[in-house]
């Protein structure tokens, strides 16, 4: 108890390590199969002060996971620890978290100042403390000039800054969570707000979790990106790791533009057999008993060569910086990314894969 009070009253002691243990959630009362679960067996270890992104398509469970961490939802199974202290049954106020939602949530009838002061008033701070805190945060978010305006009169990005400010104004927050906060912001302001967030993260050094379905937002904001798919975490890693070594075919598809080429292949004697050839790879393949085996290679790591896999060139699209070449072989379509200056052969051609980035997948998971 004493320790808890200490955390609340001293800034320097705030250390929020977040641990999720075997977290599962279902919105149904009875669960019969995997699709009844919004989250399945999620395990996460997040360090204090990190910037993390939860990335995945709509309906993958990322908002559910966020609401469980913030305490708005109680998980069906599993537990949540903040600094090794079980908070699974605590409500959002007791957990001391801040959350910013998809669209700006503001109190229409209050001024900007009162909006920012509201969470502090509810926590019983003195007027002097509130005033200095509010002014400090308003300064940081460039809201000082509008403090006395009615919040409902602001533009969408101004309103979203208020939502953000209501989270930042409290010095006791363990973690700040963002649920696709830039959805309603104009494209040119997205950049401004995103770099503002990045800057804030460096300045205040709090743990931040950013939920998005936009890979660019996730990769630019976070040090560590958690990719979710159908209620499961398929890979956690730095943006580079996710790009260079996708642990799951979904990560390959979802990250990168165009996504990874994933084609059916056979695994024999620890080797990838594709189109009647053995594909060299740097990873060692040990297990072979899968119902479905595939080979994955990113378009960036394919080159035109004199021998190799024979393909038909179907279409070349020039994006300016590089060319995306659609090719076809017996096993399916392969996209190749070539630099703008590359001469693209016409008709049929041969391509070779960079063996460092050629991976075998068994039942969608990487074989290694």
């Amino acid at each position: 108890m004493n320790f808890y009070i200490l955390i609340k009253t001293t800034d320097w002691l705030i250390m929020a390590k977040i641990t999720l243990k075997k977290l599962s959630h279902s919105y149904l009362v009875n669960q019969n199969n995997d699709s009844d679960w919004a989250l399945r067996g999620v395990d996460i270890d997040w360090k204090d002060g990190g910037a993390y992104a939860l990335l995945g398509p709509s309906g993958c469970g990322k908002t559910t996971l966020l609401n469980i961490i913030s305490g708005l939802l109680k998980p069906t199974e599993g537990e949540i620890l903040f600094n090794d202290k079980d908070v699974t049954t605590l409500n959002p106020v007791e957990r001391d978290i801040a959350q910013i939602f998809q669209f700006p949530v503001i109190y229409d009838t209050m001024t900007v100042y009162d909006n920012l002061a509201f969470p502090l008033k509810n926590r019983g701070l003195s007027d002097i403390e509130i005033d200095s805190k509010v002014k400090e945060i308003a300064e940081m978010l460039e809201l000082s000039s509008t403090l006395n305006n009615r919040a409902s009169g602001l533009t969408a990005d101004g309103k979203q800054k208020i939502s953000l400010g209501r989270g930042l104004v409290r010095s006791d927050v363990n973690v700040i969570m963002f649920d696709e906060p830039l959805t309603v912001i104009d494209p040119h302001l997205k950049w401004v707000l995103r770099s503002k967030l990045k800057e804030l993260h460096q300045k205040i050094n709090r743990t931040m979790i950013y939920v998005t379905h936009d890979q660019i937002e996730a990769l630019t904001f976070a040090d560590q990106v958690v990719v979710m798919h159908e209620g499961q975490i398929v890979q956690t890693g730095t943006p580079v790791e996710l790009f260079e070594k996708p642990k799951h075919t979904f990560v390959g598809h979802f990250i990168g533009s165009p996504g990874m080429n994933i084609l059916p292949c056979e695994i024999k004697n620890g080797q990838i057999n594709f189109e009647g050839k053995v594909l060299p790879t740097n990873t060692r393949i040990k297990k072979t008993n899968f119902s479905k085996t595939q080979v994955g290679i990113r378009p960036e790591f394919i080159n035109f060569s004199n021998d190799g896999i024979q393909v038909k060139i179907k279409r070349v699209s020039d994006t300016g910086r590089h060319k995306v070449v659609d090719t076809e072989c017996k096993s399916g379509n392969i996209k190749v990314l070539a630099s703008a200056s590359t001469e693209i052969p016409t008709g049929s051609a041969h391509i070779s894969f960079d063996q460092k980035y050629t991976y075998a997948y068994g039942d969608n998971w990487i074989i290694e």
Binding site: F101, M110, P119
Partner: protein, 288 residues
């Protein structure tokens, strides 16, 4: 640019003009016509100028029924709005309770007005009515046909029963359109239940509540059928509201001139109050 000038499209507007003329302009102008003249039937008219208007504006009878009307409307708004909001707040948001509540709430609104009056008349009769009989049997001296206080009580109770649902349904629709994120943000900000109502629900319901107040004001200010069937304006003149009084003057006494003048004043009062109220409510809206 070559533009063809052809005004024939105006012909398409003629049906609208005819319709509006027959359902609004002609009847209204007939009333205006009557209000400046004296008639003894058989289409004989004599010009009276503004005499009827002056008479009505200075008549104690008009003042009394206007006063009764204002008090009645004020009381029912005072009861129905908070009660309606309160019921809407306690109604379930999902599950089987939603249709049950919605149907229960809609029922009073679906009953024809004169049936409501007749129902409550029988319901409240002191000797055989369930309400009247029960009140008397537990010791209240209740008789709405003879005691003006009881007549008021019954009329207001009837109107609350009949029309609170409208406020409930409008508020419920307003409440349901609030995004869950507002409640979640409030929870995170540590807001109390009262704060949530004061800073989220009430501001978000502002538009539907404006509508509810306007509708309830207009309907209650023009109430006729239900009190006509329930009390007929009595006992004495106790529940003689404006429209009841107007009908008595026009059809009971056949004072068509004064009745027409009173109709116009009545109409202007309703219009003026609605306009003032609406402009006040929308003033802030325009600014934001």
């Amino acid at each position: 640019m070559n533009k063809t000038f052809n005004q024939k499209a105006w012909y398409f507007v003629i049906p609208v003009f005819v319709l509006v003329a027959f359902n609004a302009a002609v009847p209204l102008m007939t009333v205006v016509n009557y209000s400046f003249q004296e008639t003894f039937g058989s289409n004989v008219f004599a010009w009276e100028g503004t005499r009827w208007f002056k008479e009505i504006l200075h008549s104690e009878r008009f003042h009394a029924s206007l006063g009764r009307q204002a008090i009645f409307t004020f009381i029912i708004l005072l009861i129905q709005l908070p009660l309606g909001i309160f019921i809407a707040l306690t109604m379930p948001k999902k599950g089987w309770g939603v249709p049950v509540c919605l149907i229960l709430m809609s029922m009073p609104l679906l009953i024809p007005w004169n049936v409501v009056g007749a129902m409550w008349n029988i319901f409240a009769l002191p000797d055989i009515g369930f309400l009247g009989n029960s009140l008397n049997s537990i010791g209240f001296d209740y008789n709405f046909t003879q005691q003006s206080g009881d007549a008021w009580f019954t009329t207001i109770l009837m109107d609350v029963w009949h029309w609170t649902s409208l406020v409930v349904l409008l508020s419920y629709a307003g409440l349901n359109s609030i995004q869950p994120a507002y409640y979640q943000a409030a929870e995170i900000d540590g807001a109390s239940r009262w704060d949530i109502f004061r800073y989220i629900e009430l501001p978000k319901m502002k538009k539907v509540l404006t509508l509810a107040i306007l509708l309830r004001f207009m309907d209650s200010f023009m109430i006729y059928t239900e009190p006509f069937v329930l009390t007929g304006g009595g006992p004495g003149n106790a529940t003689n509201f404006l429209s009841l009084d107007l009908v008595k003057m026009a059809l009971g006494q056949f004072d068509l001139g004064p009745a027409a003048a009173m109709s116009l004043i009545y109409f202007l009062i309703v219009l003026l109050i609605c306009w003032i109220f609406y402009s006040l409510m929308m003033k802030n809206e325009a600014r934001t």
